[in-house]
């Protein structure tokens, strides 16, 4: 019964959700040729309020409007799920300092590493990009080590 232990919640919800995630990226790609990652939004949106040169590169300023639309779509799409399937709001038990500190590291890491779970993990791997495969293998290994270390230290959740 090892399958039950590895997948205590089955695989349907994960696979179906993954197909939707890929489907959203594929829809935008087929219509516009744009490969939409989620993390460039952080820097491109900062260009509205900061004149730091890095945020005001043409690549960011030229895409900042649709990146806000994309992010709004992500929030709305998840909202549809929450209203129709989830039966209202759901909130995490993970402690605030983990979310904040983890968020800061994610913000630095995704920009330094040229992408995140969607950019490298879904689009880059889907492109068989060696750069992305190296990045994904790196962040998954480090994340496994970090999560297990934090758990071993008795932090929960």
């Amino acid at each position: 019964m090892i399958g039950v232990e590895l997948f205590p919640n089955g695989i349907a919800r994960y696979l179906i959700g993954g197909l939707f995630i890929g489907g959203g990226i594929a829809s935008i790609y087929l219509a516009t040729g744009i490969i939409a990652g989620a993390s460039t939004f952080l820097e491109s949106t900062l260009s509205y309020v900061s004149n730091v040169p890095r945020f005001n590169r043409l690549r960011y300023v030229g895409s900042r409007d649709w990146r806000i639309v994309f992010t709004a779509g992500i929030v709305l799409g998840a909202g549809v799920y929450a209203v129709v399937w989830q039966g209202g709001a759901w909130t995490t038990e993970v402690q605030w300092w983990r979310l904040l500190a983890g968020g800061v590291l994610v913000g630095v890491g995704t920009r330094l590493g040229k992408g995140c779970t969607s950019g490298h993990g879904v689009c880059g791997v889907g492109s068989l990009s060696q750069t992305s495969i190296v990045n994904v293998a790196t962040f998954i290994s480090v994340a496994i080590g970090t999560a297990q270390l934090v758990q071993a230290l008795g932090v929960s959740p």
Partner: protein
């Protein structure tokens, strides 16, 4: 983005909606589910990333192989291939530390807002702080060698 035809923003919005719905449906928008995966309690997340990458893999292959240009922009279809340098690994290590600590990545964090998970705003704020800090630091480093353009 020189050329954008009518419907451009609508397609982006609908694509985002499908993407965000998938993140919520898969439960990846919940940090606990990501942490369960990283702690080997539930490996279902493999199917989220694998399923999504399979779809993009097929669509990228077909589009770059047989289609000419995207209807709403006229741009040529390309794959996502970025240059490799040390930052790709260093960034992966920093990202992985943050992902393992919080169970949150950018797309999943936005979707988490949508499922009503208000404490996730800590993570969203953190991501903006992190992105701002690295951008400011890197602009200063490159700016100092490129001339007086580093003024903030």
């Amino acid at each position: 983005m020189t050329d954008r035809r009518p419907g451009f923003h609508l397609v982006i919005l609908v694509g985002g909606l499908i993407f965000g719905f998938g993140l919520a449906y898969s439960h990846m928008a919940r940090p606990e589910v990501v942490l369960d995966f990283l702690q080997f309690d539930d490996l279902g997340l493999l199917f989220v990333m694998g399923g999504a990458a399979a779809v993009t893999g097929v669509v990228f292959t077909v589009a770059t192989g047989v289609l000419d240009s995207a209807p709403l922009t006229g741009v040529e279809y390309v794959r996502r291939v970025k240059s490799f340098d040390r930052n790709v690994v260093v960034g992966g290590v920093v990202f992985g530390t943050g992902w393992g600590l919080s169970g949150i990545c950018p797309g999943a964090a936005y979707a988490s807002v949508g499922i009503g998970n208000w404490p996730i705003l800590w993570a969203v704020a953190g991501m903006f702080i992190g992105a701002y800090a690295q951008g400011r630091l890197r602009s200063r480093i490159t700016g100092s060698s490129a001339g007086p353009t580093a003024a903030d």
